[in-house]
Structure formats: C-alpha cells, structure tokens
C-alpha cells in the first residue's frame, strides 16, 4: 500500500480539500466540456481561461479571493463574447479573439503588479498553473454550490442545447431561443473555467475542460455515455494527479514536490492519446469493409 500512497496521504487536510475541489471541478468541466466540443466552442473555452487569468491576477492585486477573481472575469468574458456575437458562427472567432486580446493585455499588467509587489511573489505560478494544496477548506461550500447550479442549468437546457449544437436552423424552427440557450451555456462554461482555474490554474484549465470530453466523445457510443465517461476520466486524472504530486514529495531528496497540475494535464493527455487507438482500429475496419464492398453505416462496434 505504501508503494502507492506515501505516509499521511489519507490524513492530510490539504489532500482532502484537493480531492474534493479537484473532483468537483473535474465533474463540472467534463459535463460542460462535452457540449463545448460538440458545439465547436473549444476556442471560446480556451479564451475564457485566459480571461480568468485576468480575474485571478486582478484578485491578487486587490487582495481578494482568487475564486472570486476567476469566476467574475470568466462570467464577464462570457457575457462580453455573447454580446459581441458568439451566437453567430461567423462572429464566434472574431468575438472570442477580441475579448481574448483585451483580457490578456490586462492579465499582463496585473501579473506584473502581482510579481513586483513583495507579498505575492508566487502569484504567477498560482494563477497560471494552480496550487490546489493551498486552497482553503472554506472554499468547498462555494465551489460545491456553484457546481450544483451549473450542472442543474446544463440538465435544464439539455435538449434545446443539444439540438442547437447540431443545427441552429433546426432549433430556431422548433421555437428554441438560441440567444437564451447560448448565453446560459456560456455562463456555465465560465463557471467551469473558474472552478478548474482554482484546481489546476487558469492556463491549464483548458485541459480539464476539453481533454476528458474529447477522449470520451471518441470512445462512447452515445452522448450520455460520453458525459459519464468524461466525468470518470476527469475525476480519475485529477485524483491521480493529486496522489502523484503528494507522493513526489518523497521522490527527491530535497523534499520538494512536483505541481499537481502537471500530473493532471499529463494524465489527460495520455488518456486522449489512448482514446485514439479504438478510433484508428474502427477506421481500419471500416476501410477494410469498404474494400470488401461492405455496406456503409453498419458498424457493428457502434451497436449498443
């Protein structure tokens, strides 16, 4: 047992907080991430992580909770993108780029102020790459409440969101308000970015948002299956990341552990690469079937 769990892992308070915060952030990111990938809004998600950087670094300057900074900026950014035109496919990249550029400029200023003020020399590392072992346990109720609300919103708009992701025309013809659905989704995206920024840092939160979702979409045979699988992948990667980071304190003589976020991102990357193996095999079988004159659209492995 000690070969896997170094002494004190199960009794450590910071580890408990990290496991809870990490799991909650991973769950929300996975659910929102699946829709972000399906809707083709991965870039918008990434842009919001940079916007969250502005909020996080601004929070350090002001001396307030980084969670408030991450969430506030991401929600403001989501609203701005929606206002500029993220609902229209052609306007999406433009709106995202405009907001991204402005936010990054502000983040550069705040990070400069953070690092030049004596009390917050570690701010850059914490904001960009996370410091989950230093998150206060008092944050847990807020994070849990935000997660519940976000998942509730996604569940509430599930069907209109799904149809509008495939065809805006089809959804509009059914009387679905693309504006309302799109705005609610962007707000959910902003909250998930804010939460994962606390866990693994604003820059790396894209990995938690997109990675498990992209891998699950490759592997699952239904969208609901993809949602469940993305949650499992996200939580497993996060918990293993916490474990490896904790254990890494004992790997080197200097008693200095490695960052949690690096492990989490590496594990997600490995999961994504591994998810490509069945896809390659399926494509090989399909091209083989086509070569033998087999019918299209009769993929046996897709059958439930």
């Amino acid at each position: 047992m000690h070969a896997i769990f170094e002494p004190g892992f199960f009794s450590s308070g910071p580890v408990h907080v990290a496991l809870v915060i990490g799991a909650v952030a991973a769950l929300v990111s996975a659910v929102v991430g699946v829709f972000a990938v399906v809707r083709g809004q991965s870039f918008a998600g990434h842009a919001l992580t940079d916007v969250a950087t502005t909020g996080g670094s601004g929070a350090f300057v002001l001396g307030i909770s980084p969670l408030v900074g991450f969430l506030g900026a991401a929600i403001f950014g989501a609203g701005a993108m929606d206002l500029v035109g993220v609902q229209r496919v052609r306007g999406r990249d433009l709106a995202t780029g405009v907001v991204l550029g402005a936010a990054t400029g502000l983040a550069a200023l705040f990070l400069f102020l953070d690092t030049t003020s004596g009390a917050t020399t570690g701010a850059t590392q914490t904001i960009l790459f996370g410091s989950i072992f230093t998150v206060a346990s008092s944050t847990i109720p807020t994070v849990a409440a935000l997660s519940v609300v976000t998942i509730f919103v996604i569940a509430f708009i599930y069907r209109p969101l799904l149809l509008s992701s495939f065809s805006a025309d089809l959804a509009a013809a059914r009387g679905i308000s693309l504006r309302v659905v799109g705005l609610l989704f962007m707000l959910a995206l902003a909250v998930s970015v804010g939460l994962s920024s606390i866990a693994i840092g604003s820059v790396l939160s894209t990995a938690l948002l997109i990675g498990p979702a992209a891998a699950a979409l490759r592997l699952a045979t239904s969208l609901r299956g993809a949602l469940v699988l993305a949650c499992v992948l996200g939580v497993v990667a996060t918990w293993l990341g916490v474990l490896f980071a904790y254990d890494s304190f004992y790997w080197f003589s200097k008693s200095q552990g490695l960052p949690v976020s690096s492990f989490i991102v590496a594990l997600i990357f490995v999961a994504y690469l591994a998810s490509g193996m069945p896809v390659l095999r399926r494509r090989g079988e399909r091209s083989g079937a086509a070569g033998r004159g087999g019918p299209r659209g009769t993929r046996v492995e897709e059958s439930a």
Binding site: R159, P160, L163, F166, R174, T221, L223, T298, E302
Partner: protein, 270 residues
C-alpha cells in the same frame, strides 16, 4: 373544401435594396407533394424560413392550418439545408430521431415507452432501423436525409418543409429519398413542400409545383405551370418547355440571358 395546410398570400421579402420575394402567393393542401423549384439564389430558402417564422415579411401573410405565425407551433416539420453531423460525436441515430419529440422542451422528463415505441416505428418506416445505433455523422448522405426526415416527422406535423434535401446526393440516393417522401405523403397524409433546383427527379411524385424566379412565383398542378406561356411570362423572355422521355427541359433561345433558369433544366438549342 378543407382549409389548406399552408397559405402564402402576397409575401414580399427584401434584403437591403434587393427584393428577394415579390408578391408570392400559393397554397399547399394536406396529402400533397409540392415542389418549390428555382435556381440557386432565387429565394427558396428565404421562403421556407418565412414559412417557419424565421424571416420577417415586408408584406403579405403566411398561415399554417389557417393560423398565423404565432399559433403554428408543432404543425411544421423541417429538414434544413445544412446540419453539422460530426462523425466524431457519438449521437446515435435513434437518439437524434427521438430529439424531434421534445428538443424544444426545457427541464427534466423521461421519455415514455410509447415515445420509444414511436421512435422504433418511425425508424422502421424510413428504413433506418438497421443503423439505428450508429453515429449519425458516420452515415452516407442518403441515410442522413432519411434520419433528418424521421426527426422532422416524429412530432407528427401536418406540413413537412425540406430545403434542398437532394443536393449533393448520388442518383440512387435521390431516387430513394424521393420514394421515401412519396411514402410519407401517402401513408402519413402529410403535406410536403420540398425545394430543389432540379425538378425532373420529382416529376413522378409531384402533385403541384411552385416555380420561383426573379422573386416571383407561378404555382399550380405541374402540367399547368410547366408550360411555355406560363414560364415565359414568369421569366420575362420566351422559353420553350420540351418534354423528352419523361423529363422536362426549360429551354432559352440562344443569346438570351438564361442564368435564372434552374440548372439541369437548361438546354441551349443551336
């Protein structure tokens, strides 16, 4: 006589200074197959969007089952021109069809056994049951059209609108989709309004035609509209209508500007 399913009455639509639809009027009855024929850019999609209530009218009125736009929910099925169906997204055929039942519904509800049975029946009806568990994006163009038609039909509309469903299909798939739509009209007694830039594939099943060009429309039974005098008046130039081996060719005289004559219907005689 019963109320037509669709009444388009003096509809005009403009984009900026360009008039797309100019006083267009026609009606569609229940159980009728109507072709909306015209070359690319003449306003077919604009007209369908206007019927759906997605396009503001400059003038005129559109009624579905006698009701104005605000009261027509649920009576229209729609197959749009473009639907992004990514093969990497695990959206199964049966799930996509079922989404047609309640996609507009917010909140939490489980589908009933009757609704699941309805999905199965419709999948069988459009001959999609054998690939019901496949990803929609992995299907061929013809198979995807069958799935989109099932998605539109499952809410049991009285009018089915299809925007260029035959575009980019191979001839065999075109025949299959047209036969399926004819089956839908006969068996489900649904009115079909299908836009296309080529009418010949539809001739065996088309009860009526709405021929659109220069923003104006001629409509009625196919034989009464596809005539030289009617189409010449519509084009504002003389055109001949040739019928050869069950196909129709709309022919402009050499040297005439014939850019608005639908593709594949044009034959320049020398």
């Amino acid at each position: 006589m019963s109320t037509p399913v669709l009444e388009v009455d003096g509809v005009s639509v403009s984009f900026a200074a360009r008039k797309i639809l100019d006083d267009v009027s026609f009606s569609v009855n229940r159980g009728e197959f109507t072709g909306l024929i015209g070359s690319n850019g003449v306003g077919k999609t604009t007209l369908l969007r206007a019927i759906l209530g997605l396009q503001r009218l400059d003038d005129g009125e559109i009624r579905v089952n006698g009701a104005p736009q605000s009261q027509r929910s649920g009576s229209l099925g729609y197959v749009p021109q473009k639907v992004i169906l990514d093969p990497d997204v695990p959206m199964r055929v049966r799930d996509f069809v079922a989404l047609g039942l309640d996609a507009q519904r917010y909140g939490f509800s489980r589908r009933t056994k009757q609704q699941h049975a309805l999905v199965e029946d419709l999948l069988n009806d459009v001959d999609a049951a054998h690939f019901a568990d496949n990803r929609v994006g992995s299907l061929s163009g013809g198979e995807q059209q069958r799935v989109l038609i099932a998605h539109a039909l499952i809410s049991q509309p009285s009018l089915l609108l299809l925007d260029e469903p035959l575009a980019n299909l191979d001839p065999k798939s075109v025949q299959e989709v047209v036969a399926l739509l004819h089956h839908v009209v006969v068996e489900h007694h649904v009115a079909v309004l299908l836009s296309a830039h080529e009418m010949n594939a539809l001739l065996p099943v088309m009860d009526r035609i709405v021929y659109l060009t220069n923003g104006r429309a001629a409509s009625g039974p196919t034989d009464e509209v596809i005539r030289s005098d009617v189409l010449s008046a519509l084009y504002g130039q003389h055109v001949d209508v040739l019928k050869l081996h069950g196909r129709v060719l709309v022919v402009a005289e050499p040297g005439q500007d014939n850019k608005d004559i639908p593709e594949h219907s044009t034959l320049t005689v020398t």
